[in-house]
Symmetry: D2
C-alpha cells in the first residue's frame, strides 16, 4: 500500500504557528479513506451498501510539531480485529522523522445494528 | 431580536494570531441559525418539513481583526426577498467597533424544487 | 468549577448527520480554556508570560452520537501531574447521558525548554 | 499556470451531504497559495520578508454542489491591482462544469503599514 501524504494548509495552523493538534485526527481519517480506496472498498461503496462506520475511539501521540506546507507521510494499517470492532494504526513522518502516532477504533453499522466483521467481510478482516 | 455572540476559539486563530477569515462565514451561519430559532422557525423544523436551504452566495468584508477570546456581537437581519431567493445581512462588532460586514443569499428547496418564498412562508418573507 | 457547555454547530456535523468525531478534540480544548479562565490562569496570561502549552497526547472515547443544536455539558479536571506533564480528563454529557470521555496530556514550554510544573506553579499543580 | 486541485474530504461535508459552503473559502486560499508557489513567491518567502497579507474581502457564488471525493479543479488569477489592494478571481470546476466562482481582496502589510504594491513588487503586480 502506498502511504498517504497530507500537505499542511495555512488554515490548519494555529497561533503557535504549528498544525493544530485536532487536525491530525482529520489527517488520520484522510489516510484510512485512502487505504480503503486502495483496497477497493471505499467509503462510497460502504455507504452504497447502507453501511456506516462510526469511530468509537481515537488516540494520537504528538512527537514533533509540523507547520504550513509540511508534507506529512502517513502509513496506516489494520492493527486489530475483534468480533465487532477494528483498529487502524497510523504513523506520520516528516522527512523520515516520526511526527505522530495514531490509533482509531471503528465498528460497522447496518440498519442500526452492528456488523459481525469476519462473517461479512472475510477478505478485509481475516488479517491473522 | 437579540444579537448573537460568538466567542473566538483558540483553534479558530491562524499563524498571524488572528481569527482565520474563513471562520466568519461560519459565524454568519451561527447567527442566522440563532435568528431563525428566535423567530420560531429553526433549521430543525425546516429539516423536519423536508426543506433544505442551500447558500447560493456569500460575501464578507473584514474591517478589523479579532483574536482568541474576543466576543463578536453579530446583528443579522433579512435584507432582501425575491421570488426564490433571500438575503441576510450581518454586522459583527467588538467593543462597539465594526469588525466585519457580511451578506449571504439563500433559496429553499423541497423535493429538489425551489420554493416560492412569499407563497409558502408569508409571515417570514413579507418584509416590505 | 462550572462545567463548560458546547452547543453543536451545523458545520460541525458530517454526512452521517452527527457531530464529526474530530470536533470533540476541539470541544476538549474549549473546556480546558474555560477551566483555566475560571482558575484565573487563562491562555492569555500564559502567553503573556511567554509560556506555550503544547498537547503531547489526546484520547477520546465516543459513547453516544450528538448532532446539531445538542448541548454537550463538559466536566474537566486535572487528573495527573508528573514532573513535566499533566493530564486533563473530560466527561461530556447530553441530557445526563455520557457522550464522550476524553483525556489530554500537556507540557509547558518556556523559551523552548520544558517547565518543571510543581516548582513553577505550585498552586496549580500540587493536586495531591 | 497549472490549476489547483482540491479533493473533498469527508469532514468537509455537512448534514445535507454536500461540501459545507464555508470550506470553499479555504479552497480559495489553498489555490492562491499554490499560485504564489508556482510564481516563486510563496507565503513562506513573504513571511520571511516580514510581510503579512490579510484578506480584506471575500465573495463566493455557489453554482453546483460537490461532495466527498469530488475533485474540484480551481483556476485562479490576479484580476485587479490598485495602489494598496489586489484581487484574485477563482473558478472551480468539477468534470468541466463550474461549481463556484470566487473573489478575494488582499493588501500587504509590513511593520503594520500597507505596502504600495507596484513599487515594491513590480514584477508581480504590473499586470496591465
Amino acid at each position: 500500500m502506498k502511504p498517504y501524504i497530507h500537505k499542511v494548509k495555512y488554515y490548519e495552523c494555529d497561533r503557535m504557528g504549528i498544525t493544530h493538534h485536532s487536525n491530525y485526527i482529520r489527517f488520520m481519517e484522510e489516510a484510512r479513506v485512502d487505504l480503503l480506496d486502495q483496497l477497493g472498498y471505499g467509503f462510497e461503496k460502504m455507504e452504497a451498501d447502507g453501511i456506516v462506520s462510526p469511530v468509537t475511539e481515537v488516540n494520537c501521540t504528538y512527537r514533533k510539531t509540523t507547520t504550513f506546507q509540511d508534507e506529512i507521510v502517513i502509513d496506516v494499517h489494520l492493527a486489530k480485529v475483534s468480533t465487532l470492532k477494528f483498529d487502524f494504526e497510523y504513523v506520520g513522518r516528516k522527512d523520515g522523522a516520526v511526527v505522530f502516532i495514531g490509533r482509531s477504533t471503528h465498528c460497522l453499522m447496518e440498519n442500526g445494528r452492528p456488523v459481525v466483521l469476519k462473517d461479512r467481510y472475510p477478505n478485509l478482516f481475516n488479517i491473522d
